[in-house]
Assembly symmetry: C2
Homo-oligomer: 214 residues x 2
DNA sequence: CGGCAATTTGAAGGCGCTCAAAAGTAGTGG
DNA sequence: CCACTACTTTTGAGCGCCTTCAAATTGCCG
């Protein structure tokens, strides 16, 4: 039992689980999840690998006292669910209406592993870059890096629709929701971004964001 | 070019490079590095995978202004150097006298990849657990988790010899060296640990550390 | 329009950082 | 062996960024 497993032994879910699953077919066909629906939970047996067909996913861990760290968001086309153990060490939930293709991979070696290694390494690099953000950047830098990352992963669009709430962004960036909101407001005041909807973000001055992210 | 690559374009090494390499044979034989010696640098062409035979290694990234984030320490028996690109995105340096076995892997698929996937996933899980520490734990919790991790990875020994300086611990945990030192002192005052040497740590009350790490 | 949740904004306080200096450690050479 | 130097670690004081607590505002959906 590792340090972090120990941390989580006393965990209990804070809200009652409501699956909200519209349709879960057998085999490799996509499964549909409503916003907030659980895809898998810590301690569950690993079911394989997951590919986001549409929508978005948050993957996170919890501390015993309820503090949450979202280790990654996964958007359409991305793969997640890599684990070293037979049971999940993380929770995965849909951020919005989401379609997931589940590949049941009992054997993780041979040619299949050869195809998976690049995907796993992609996740590793993302996690390592996120370590730099969490370890050494201030609130403004974190939010700027986050917005640029989200934009890049949606094709570098000028206007993006965030699939997650402020609370999710905070738990991803290691900040309180109030601080996230304050940074958004400050960026809006400086005309670096515009906030047309609650979830929409228009990047007005990309260069300014990039300067801030450093 | 990603956000983080951009961040690092203006990077320059802060100290003059002194290889201090005693012996670097060809092929798969181990290479020896003195304390502080560079194993590879950001931007260099990837040479393959690296296995620590003895000693210890730090892998890190830098921001343009010199802030450093150590993404991982690697001890004897551990493998590192996984990259998605043809060039390194990180720096790797020996923390002390260290022997490294370099496997030159031109093809990262097939059975070889099958053997590598578990190692890569191990790195991924470590990075994700570290995200929880950096994102959601305070200074005391971070140091406690670090000490337990170091102890566990050295066989759960009661007394361990840290191969790294306070500055390295700080850059790993996202803290200043002063804060790391203060937490060490506080743990010593509470008789949770003892500090026989500058680098030595004796874990007197493991349970207390585990309670703190949560 | 009314009600609920999410977001925003404000005020006060705390944790960790920066700056600074003292104490301890190691390495070198006389 | 000891003196000298350079570096690391420790300790102190003050400050600033972010958090917490609280309340106002906005947005959304019936």
């Amino acid at each position: 039992m590792t340090v972090h497993d120990k941390i989580l032994t006393s965990f209990h879910r804070s809200t009652v689980f409501d699956p909200k699953i519209v349709h879960r077919p057998a085999g490799d066909a996509p499964t549909y999840f409503a916003a907030g629906a659980e895809i898998y939970a810590q301690g569950e047996k690993c079911g394989g690998l997951y590919t986001v067909e549409f929508g978005a996913v948050r993957v996170y861990r919890l501390l015993a006292d309820g503090r949450r760290q979202i280790s990654a968001f996964h958007l359409a086309g991305e793969m997640f669910g890599f684990e070293t153990d037979v049971t999940h060490h993380f929770f995965a939930e849909a951020l919005c209406a989401t379609g997931i293709r589940i590949q049941r991979t009992t054997l993780l070696h041979g040619d299949l592993a050869g195809a998976l290694l690049p995907m796993a390494l992609q996740s590793l690099v993302r996690a390592q870059e996120h370590l730099l953000v969490l370890g050494r950047q201030n609130a403004t830098e974190r939010v700027a890096a986050f917005l640029l990352d989200m934009s890049d992963r949606q094709g570098g669009l000028r206007t993006i629709e965030l699939p997650m709430a402020r609370a999710d962004i905070g738990d991803y960036l290691g900040l309180s929701i109030e601080t996230v909101s304050r940074v958004f407001s400050r960026l809006r005041q400086k005309d670096v971004i515009r906030l047309p909807n609650l979830r929409g973000v228009e990047i007005v001055k990309r260069q300014a964001l990039e300067d801030l992210a450093a």
